[in-house]
């Protein structure tokens, strides 16, 4: 069971959270002008990465805040968690470690 560092509350059991897939997907502004394919890409398609994944979590049974995590989907190691308003943390070192 993961131990997740909520940016607002600190470390809590995974059971307090839910995961919501790939992070950093902005909702398109001009939805009327999008082709079916472009809209479908936004609605349906997500990366399915083995390795470093930027993903959304929410602390449902805690502060109910959304945040992002950088997690290796193979090892489940979480390199960073950060608020939606935060700059994306640099985990270059960890990234390299995971590739090697």
């Amino acid at each position: 069971m993961l131990l997740i560092d909520c940016p607002w509350c600190g470390e809590r059991d995974q059971t307090e959270f839910s995961a919501h897939g790939e992070a950093h997907i902005a909702r398109p502004q001009n939805t009327a002008e999008l082709s079916d394919e472009e809209w479908g890409d936004y609605v349906f398609f997500r990366k399915n990465i083995k390795g470093i994944h930027y993903e959304r979590w929410v602390h449902d049974f805690g502060c109910r805040r959304w945040f992002n995590a950088i997690r290796d989907t193979a090892s489940d190691q979480i390199f960073a968690t950060y608020k939606p308003s935060d700059a994306v943390p640099d985990i270059t070192a960890a990234d390299k470690a995971s590739e090697s």
């Binding site: 069971m1 993961l2 131990l3 059991d13 919501h20 902005a26 909702r27 939805t31 009327a32 999008l34 079916d36 809209w39 479908g40 936004y42 609605v43 959304r56 929410v58 449902d60 109910r64 805040r65 959304w66 090892s75 489940d76 190691q77 939606p84 308003s85």
Partner: protein, 1050 residues
């Protein structure tokens, strides 16, 4: 203790455990004897117990297994598949055979390992998987028809053909299975406990104790968990000394140091069963299982389920001896060699006085020497040939003690079925593939076998730790290299579980692991350095360092016929009855990888998870394939290490604490007035209010009719309610709902549909503008939390700069829905507001007072009648309900429940999201295009509505159905077909979503989702039920009653 202290006692009725021996063989020295003392027992204190209906006697500290052995009980069960007689095989948690049914009635527990059941006064146990008795077992017929139950039988039966499974199932269910499940509720109390520590140490043998001391001396918070009731591990039964003193003296000193430290928690009788991510471990502590039933006071705990987060973990879980695979190696009396030492030194039971020790390594020599010195006749059979045994000091020791050692030999068969009469020993050929020359028959009743040792790597493996194959041990050990470290599960393995079998090294490495674990991650000032100095000096032990000295492994000991081609079986998995021949068969059929092998033969899939069989199975497969063991692979160990009581996992969260129910402020009134409740989400809602003599149907029909004739009141407090405030709420609602919101005036209400980005309806409700920047949103009862989460998700992640603040107020307001022609008059009795059509029009809101209670009153309707929803602070809910109820009596107002509410809304064709919709339904599919704004630039899901599939014309659409026979109520969920065939499959065109008998229409009505429904009004369709019955119906508009909506107004 040591051997010198062990004196045999002559059998006599006044001595525990020996009376049976005397009865069994009058006038002779029994084959088994209770010795004077053991490290775990008090031989002076008798304990009475009952086994298979016989009254027997053991001593305090016995396990059920040791007590049975002390009474000469050798046959304890029948095997799973062939029902072969089986005996106690081990002395620990790895036991595959001696599974017993403990106690009966509500306390009964199946499949308990007799080797782990602590004996208590009055214990009652029965053998399993045998009928009518363990001695005469009808199921043993399986043994004679083994040809129809080969490996892969279950596998193939499950695979093909499905119809045959029905035939086999009855037979298999009757014949298979182990113990009996309890059939009544478990009366015992359990609890879950969360614990946190710096270092968790698993196993309190020499390595674990050393690790604990090292970690504890740094000041770290340490938890030490030990499966056994006593600490000491192997020191409880081997003859080692530390610092010139018996090993157990060192254990006592260590224990007194640890017990004095506040930062140490020592938990015995506690099995760490699961190792999960981020060093989350679970453990089962047995608190009162060892006490006589009468002493387990009601309300006290039976077991505790630990959930532990540890910064670091040190695994000191020891090792499990490996059996040898020889012909008929499953006969009662064949045991692991080390278990014989455990029974002798821990439990003071000399298991036999006619012993053959069969080994391929040095460790079993201690068994031979110790049994010999305790008075048994012992013969050694060693698979290693004379060359391999030359200069072996243990062989020399054995010979010096007068024990005959047959080197280069193997047991080729065993005589005796329910008990061993003798074994036949043959000399191995040079290639060790067969035997030749004269055979030797040795009289014995017990064989202690040792095929080496497997480090107990289960927890390491559960923690994603990698394993490496250690050739000198012919086994897997944890890979503790830096590259293999699991970042999320920092842990160390030390002692025998890490492949270290010298006591001195176990102590040193245990200490080092404990110290590293406590200090890892701390900066240099993080804790005091811990010196190992003077903790333990020299150690001595009989055989420890010899354990790893194998010859090339001989995994299958030859018999007088090729494997699988004669009567004799080499069992490797005793619990699931899997033989070496089965592995050959799997290989011939192409199931070569370990994962396939497991599923094909079921090896390792019993309740023991193959603790004594896994490596042997891999090795035999490797032999067949001419491969190395690591190439065949290793199985992934999964939790739990030993079975965990389900009641303990549930802990205290049972009954009322399992799932808390939510009750409205008016709940007690409903109870007092005879409401029947239904569960809606976690809520308890009145379903209907039966009057004397009414059944459900009658009550609901009356309530539905009364609401339209006079009026009715409903407790609607469970509706989700969200308070929305801020200058950007209107802008936000424009995105959340499909219709227009900016135009909504203060004091007005509007119905809205929410779509997800797929364009599918996911909730609906009425939202009211209470003030310029203040809105009150209602949601479905079940959708309240989901909707709030949805709003928050968009506000936090997409529009964080919008000023909108959401707050759940579901629990804060009690809601009473007053419906029907008399609603206005009733309300007027209790409130001064002007409720006229003009002053208080439909879809508007006002604040007022009911009596003197402040109220928010919404004129909205879910029944199609004149209707007011009255919201008052929850604590006044019951009071206001009673006021309105009293005021309504002169108008024949009724109370109604959710069932009547459903019928009323269905008469009007109002949908219930989640009942009439299922996540694939757009507003257009519901015939609700009117609520989808064409003017708005954007809202959530809008773009999806014009996707080719969503915009398609002939989608499933909501329609009404009227059955040809007005008395027939279609079952909800019925499938609708146009073309009726003799039997399924048939093309389904849709299904019934809601269906009721409507008293106001005097006939049945239904709603359905059906292909191209809106274009098919007037057509006939047929519902085909499971039993083949056909019900014809006509497709109609989904509004059955007052289609112009006149009744909501004057």
């Amino acid at each position: 203790m040591n051997n010198a202290d062990s004196k045999t006692e002559s059998p006599g009725t006044d001595k525990p455990g020996t009376d049976n021996a005397a009865m069994h063989s009058p006038g002779q020295s029994a084959a088994w004897q209770r010795m004077a003392s053991g490290s775990s027992v008090d031989t002076g204190k008798v304990v009475h117990f009952n086994y298979d209906g016989k009254q027997l006697r053991g001593v305090v500290g016995d396990t059920l297994a040791s007590a049975l052995l002390a009474n000469g009980v050798r046959l304890v069960g029948r095997s799973f598949k062939y029902h072969r007689p089986r005996g106690i095989f081990t002395a620990g948690s790895e036991e595959p055979n001696a599974l017993v049914q403990l106690e009966d009635g509500e306390l009964t527990e199946p499949n308990t390992r007799a080797t782990q059941v602590e004996l208590y006064e009055g214990l009652s146990a029965t053998s399993q998987n045998c009928w009518p008795s363990v001695n005469f077992d009808i199921g043993a017929i399986n043994s004679l028809v083994a040809r129809i139950l080969p490996a892969g039988f279950y596998y193939k039966t499950f695979m093909w053909p499905a119809s045959m499974w029905l035939t086999y199932e009855k037979f298999i269910r009757k014949a298979a299975g182990l113990g009996r499940s309890p059939v009544v509720n478990d009366p015992d109390q359990y609890e879950q406990l969360h614990a946190h520590c710096d270092v968790l140490i698993v196993g309190a043998g020499p390595a674990g104790l050393a690790a604990t001391m090292a970690a504890a001396r740094t000041g770290a918070r340490v938890i030490l968990m030990e499966e056994q009731p006593q600490v000491g591990g192997s020191l409880l039964w081997n003859q080692a000394s530390i610092d010139g003193q018996p090993g157990m003296e060192w254990v006592k000193r260590s224990l007194s140091e640890l017990e004095a430290m506040e930062n140490v928690r020592l938990v015995t009788r506690c099995t760490v069963a699961g190792y999960y991510d981020y060093n989350f471990l679970t453990a089962l502590e047995r608190i009162s299982d060892h006490l006589p039933v009468a002493q387990r006071s009601a309300g006290s705990l039976r077991q505790r389920f630990w959930k532990i987060r540890a910064s670091k973990v040190v695994l000191c879980t020891g090792s499990i001896e490996r059996p040898l695979l020889f012909a008929d190696n499953d006969r009662p009396g064949v045991m692991l060699a080390s278990s014989l030492r455990t029974y002798l030194h821990r439990y003071a039971v000399l298991v036999t006085n006619k012993l053959v020790v069969f080994t391929n390594n040095d460790s079993a020599y201690a068994v031979a020497l110790e049994y010999q010195s305790a008075g048994a006749m012992v013969t050694l059979v060693d698979l290693r040939d004379d060359n391999e045994l030359a200069d072996n000091r243990f062989v020399q020791q054995a010979k010096d003690a007068g024990i005959v050692v047959h080197g280069g030999c193997g047991i080729v068969r065993v005589n005796g079925k329910k008990a061993i009469r003798s074994v036949v020993v043959g000399r191995l050929d040079a290639g060790k593939k067969g035997t030749s020359g004269p055979e030797l028959t040795i009289d014995c009743d017990t064989v202690g076998c040792s095929g080496g040792w497997n480090p107990t790597v289960h927890l390491h493996s559960q923690a994603r730790g990698k394993l490496q194959f250690e050739k000198s041990l012919q086994s897997f050990v944890p890979d503790q290299s830096a590259d293999a470290a699991v970042a999320i599960n920092p842990s160390f393995s030390a002692g025998a579980c890490a492949g270290q079998f010298s006591l001195n090294q176990c102590l040193i490495e245990g200490f080092s692991a404990g110290s590293k674990a406590a200090r890892l991650g701390l900066d240099s000032s993080g804790g005091p350095a811990v010196e190992q100095a003077s903790m333990f000096g020299s150690t001595s032990e009989a055989v420890g360092e010899g354990i790893a000295k194998h010859a090339d492994m001989l995994w299958t000991v030859p018999t007088d016929h090729p494997v699988g081609e004669g009567p004799r079986k080499h069992f490797h998995d005793l619990q699931n009855d899997v033989t070496v021949a089965d592995i050959h068969l799997a290989a011939r059929e192409g199931y070569l990888s370990v994962e396939h092998l497991k599923r094909y033969t079921t090896t390792g899939m019993g309740t023991d998870q193959g603790k004594t069989s896994n490596i042997s199975a891999l090795a035999v497969m490797a032999e067949i394939r001419g491969a190395q063991i690591p190439e065949v692979g290793t199985t992934t160990f999964r939790p739990p290490f030993t079975p965990v009581t389900l009641g303990a996992v549930a802990g205290q969260y049972t009954d009322d604490l399992f799932l808390q129910s939510r009750k409205t402020a008016i709940h007690d009134w409903h109870v007092e007035n005879g409401a029947v409740f239904e569960d809606v989400g976690d809520w308890k809602r009145p379903w209907y209010f039966p009057r004397a003599g009414e059944d459900m149907h009658q009550a609901v029909q009356r309530e539905v009719a009364t609401v339209r004739k006079t009026g009715g009141m409903l407790d609607a407090s469970t509706l989700g309610k969200i308070d929305l405030q801020g200058p950007d709420v209107a802008k936000f609602l424009e995105m959340i709902y499909t219709n227009a919101w900016s135009s909504l005036a203060v004091g007005k209400c509007r119905y809205g549909l929410m779509l997800n980005e797929h364009g599918m309806v996911f909730d609906d409700g009425v939202t009211t503008r209470l003030a310029e920047n203040h809105y009150h949103m209602t949601t479905t009862t079940g959708g309240a939390a989901r909707v709030l989460g949805w709003l928050e998700e968009w506000l936090q992640t997409e529009w964080p700069d919008w000023q909108v603040y959401c707050n759940s107020v579901t629990e804060q307001w009690a809601v009473i829905a007053l419906n029907g022609p008399v609603a206005r008059q009733v309300l007027q009795q209790c409130c001064d507001l002007d409720f006229s059509e003009q002053a208080f029009p439909h879809m508007s809101f006002q604040e007022g007072a009911i009596g003197n209670i402040p109220a928010r009153i919404f004129r909205i309707s879910f029944t199609g009648e004149m209707s007011f929803e009255i919201n008052v602070p929850a604590r006044y809910g019951r009071h206001v309900w009673e006021l309105l109820y009293a005021a309504g009596q002169q108008f024949d107002l009724c109370t109604y429940g959710t069932e009547a509410m459903h019928v009323l809304r269905a008469e009007k064709g109002f949908i219930i999201v989640g009942q009439d919709t299922d996540g694939t339904v757009t507003p257009h599919d519901l015939g609700m295009s009117w609520i989808v704004s064409q003017k708005k630039h954007d809202f959530l899901g809008k773009r999806s509505l014009s996707r080719s599939d969503t915009a398609r014309e002939a989608r499933k659409q909501l329609v009404g159905l009227l059955t040809d026979n007005p008395e027939t109520v279609l079952p909800e969920g019925s499938h609708l077909v146009s073309e009726i065939l003799e039997a399924p499959p048939m093309q389904t065109e849709g299904h019934v979503t809601s269906s009721y008998m409507s008293p106001n229409l005097g006939r049945s009505i239904a709603l359905a989702m059906i292909d191209n429904g809106l274009a098919r009004l007037g057509e006939s369709v047929t519902a085909r039920l499971m039993d083949g019955q056909l019900i014809a119906a006509k497709i109609v508009e989904p509004v059955f009653f007052d289609s112009k909506g006149e009744r909501m107004h004057d």
